[in-house]
């Protein structure tokens, strides 16, 4: 039972990271029908950016609360800018050219960014500095809970609720939903589809950067290839929830995190990535529209 609860907490923590990254995937896919392979790299770069801020500036002196907020916001802002740039250079010219070209372009961006990170920060693991104020842990009924776990879960839930509110309750959200259903009709209704796409490429990378910084603070170690590992899992989470479906990505991420950690705890840690992919494949065979149903109606 203790192992179960322990793994549940771990699963929720890593699951909320998957959810945040998955949101970027699912929004881009919903609007553009594109697997944005570069998204994972933006998550990774966000993590490195936060690392540089922590190491080379004095932000840590602001105290845990404000320091964290400033770092997260700066990383999110930087990645949002990079996100727009990527969209502008690699995807915008390909708007009319079928589905294959943008996927290859996305892979190209992914390779580019990954190697850029390697050249800038080196190919070895980099360690986030220990931040004493955040290094707190409690024991609740035999289960260890760290402050960082609480922060990750809390921040993720707040951000996701905020996003859900924007998508469901505001005019902007309605425009995003309309664009996801049918771009041409949305354009005829006076929606600036390009602006919507740019907005998606601000929100997605920003959320990814937040997740990146928190992963750095939680696991302490970051590596230039981690974008790809997380992005595959986040994508799996997005498919689990039904791709294009925003609440689906949130639920899918949590579920995937929990399943992965339970698998790691009860069966074998060396095989945990295999569980993820087996779940993904089984899901696609048995219920290809995801657990909550796909939002996007696919035209034949």
């Amino acid at each position: 039972m203790e192992l179960f609860l322990e793994q549940l907490v771990n699963g929720l923590t890593v699951g909320s990271v998957y959810s945040l990254v998955a949101l970027g995937y699912t929004m881009v896919y919903g609007v553009m029908r594109l697997i944005n392979f570069a998204h994972g790299e933006l998550f990774m770069l966000g993590s490195y950016f936060g690392f540089t801020l922590l190491v080379s500036t004095n932000i840590g002196a602001l105290g845990a609360g404000w320091g964290l907020i400033v770092i997260v916001l700066m990383a999110a802002g930087a990645m949002a800018l990079l996100g727009i740039l990527v969209e502008r250079v690699a995807y915008a010219p390909l708007r009319e050219s079928g589905r294959l070209a943008p996927v290859v372009s996305a892979l190209g961006v992914s390779i580019f960014l990954q190697n850029a990170a390697m050249l800038i920060w080196g190919s070895r693991y980099r360690a986030y500095p220990v931040w004493a104020a955040l290094d707190r842990r409690w024991q609740v009924g035999g289960v260890h809970i760290t402050l960082m776990q609480v922060i990750i879960l809390g921040v993720s839930i707040v951000l996701m609720l905020l996003l859900y509110f924007i998508i469901q309750r505001t005019t902007l959200g309605a425009a995003i939903r309309a664009t996801a259903i049918d771009q041409d009709t949305a354009r005829l209704m006076g929606i600036d589809v390009n602006a919507i796409i740019r907005f998606i490429f601000i929100i997605g990378p920003a959320l990814g950067a937040v997740a990146g910084v928190m992963v750095g603070l939680y696991y302490r170690q970051i590596h230039f290839t981690m974008g790809w590992t997380y992005s595959l899992k986040a994508f799996t989470a997005a498919i689990m929830g039904g791709i294009g479906n925003i609440p689906g990505a949130m639920v899918g991420g949590m579920l995937l995190g929990i399943l992965e950690m339970l698998g790691a705890g009860y069966i074998s840690a060396a095989w945990k990535d295999v569980f993820v992919f087996i779940i993904l494949i089984a899901l696609l065979i048995l219920r290809p529209t995801g657990l909550l149903g796909e939002r996007v109606a696919e035209k034949v």
Partner: protein, 332 residues
């Protein structure tokens, strides 16, 4: 429809007219290929051999991605299956590697059938992500080594060279000609296949799956056939790779290997056999040329992929049929 028919007929006519000139070009090319290893020295002969292996892999993936339009981003899995089949059966059971060449092809093809049968109905992007998943599952399995056969992260070593009668294929020049013969054979078969009923059915599925189904093409079987043939040829390439290197490890069969193969097909032009050769050449020669800028190689490579898609999405050497189809679309 009639316009399309006329065009295809014209394609045939122009082929016949160009034949003597083309024959000359191919003859000259073959001559160059035959003389090359004697002039170039062992280093470049080896480079050419690996180029040949990549051509084989590119051709095998081209069947799946290029001809049928199925996004397979896990092709390194089949390559690995071929290489490991040869490695394990040779080192554990002592079967001569020359017999294992076809066996590896059959095993990889068989796995191609078993693995893709349940997922063949998936749409483009979903298929892409599942094939990545299969690639990763296989790679992790090879590393974790559950049955004590794959040697874990270190891989399998001590694979014997192939023996043809009294000749042991061991020197760079042997491998060069071995790969050359197999590549030419593969290209010949694939060209015939392209022009056959099956090739046309594949292209039809690529362009419009629903219409193809309506015209009586068994879409499911055709897709499976493409996967089995593609996986089989990749398995053969894997077998050659294993005997060339004598040691294989999971590192050679990662997701990035699949990305490189996918890029070869896209770079050359989907469904174009000369395109695959050009694509492999670019992927092989570019790194050699950029050797001095080793660190920036992949950076440049990623940027090149983006630039390519923006300015020349049809590939460096697009197939004729594809060009005609694209041309027709823009006329309308």
């Amino acid at each position: 429809m009639t316009a399309g028919k006329g065009r295809l007929a014209m394609e045939g006519v122009s082929d016949a007219k160009e034949f003597p000139r083309r024959g000359l070009i191919y003859g000259a090319l073959l001559l160059v290929l035959l003389i090359f290893p004697f002039k170039a020295g062992p280093y470049w002969t080896d480079v050419a051999t690996f180029f040949g292996i990549y051509v084989l892999l590119g051709l095998s993936l081209n069947i799946i991605v290029g001809e049928v339009g199925l996004f397979n981003m896990g092709h390194a899995a089949f390559y690995a299956l071929g290489a490991y089949t040869t490695a394990i059966l040779n080192t554990v059971c002592g079967i001569p590697t020359i017999w294992l060449l076809p066996v590896s092809g059959i095993v990889a093809g068989g796995f191609g059938y078993i693995l893709t049968r349940p997922i063949i109905h998936l749409r483009g992007d979903y298929l892409l992500i599942v094939t990545i998943g299969l690639n990763e599952i296989l790679r992790i399995t090879l590393i974790n080594d559950p049955w004590g056969l794959t040697g874990g992260p270190n891989g399998v070593l001590g694979i014997k060279r192939m023996r043809l009668g009294s000749l042991v294929i061991s020197r760079p020049i042997h491998f060069y000609f071995f790969v050359l013969i197999i590549s030419i054979l593969a290209i010949f078969v694939l060209l015939r296949l392209q022009r056959s009923r099956i090739g046309r059915a594949w292209n039809y599925i690529r362009e419009d799956e629903v219409a193809a189904e309506a015209m009586g093409i068994d879409v499911r079987s055709m897709k499976l056939l493409a996967f089995v043939l593609g996986a089989g040829l990749a398995g053969i390439a894997g077998s050659i790779y294993a005997t060339k290197m004598m040691i294989i490890s999971p590192e050679s069969f990662t997701f990035w290997e699949s990305v490189v193969l996918f890029t070869i097909v896209i770079l050359g032009g989907m469904g174009s056999i000369p395109g695959v050769i050009v694509g492999s050449a670019v992927m092989m020669i570019l790194p050699e040329l950029l050797r001095n800028f080793m660190q920036y190689r992949m950076l440049f490579f990623g940027a090149a992929m983006v630039v390519m898609m923006v300015f020349r999405p049809q590939g460096l050497w697009p197939s004729k049929r594809w060009q005609l189809e694209m041309g027709r679309e823009t006329e309308e």
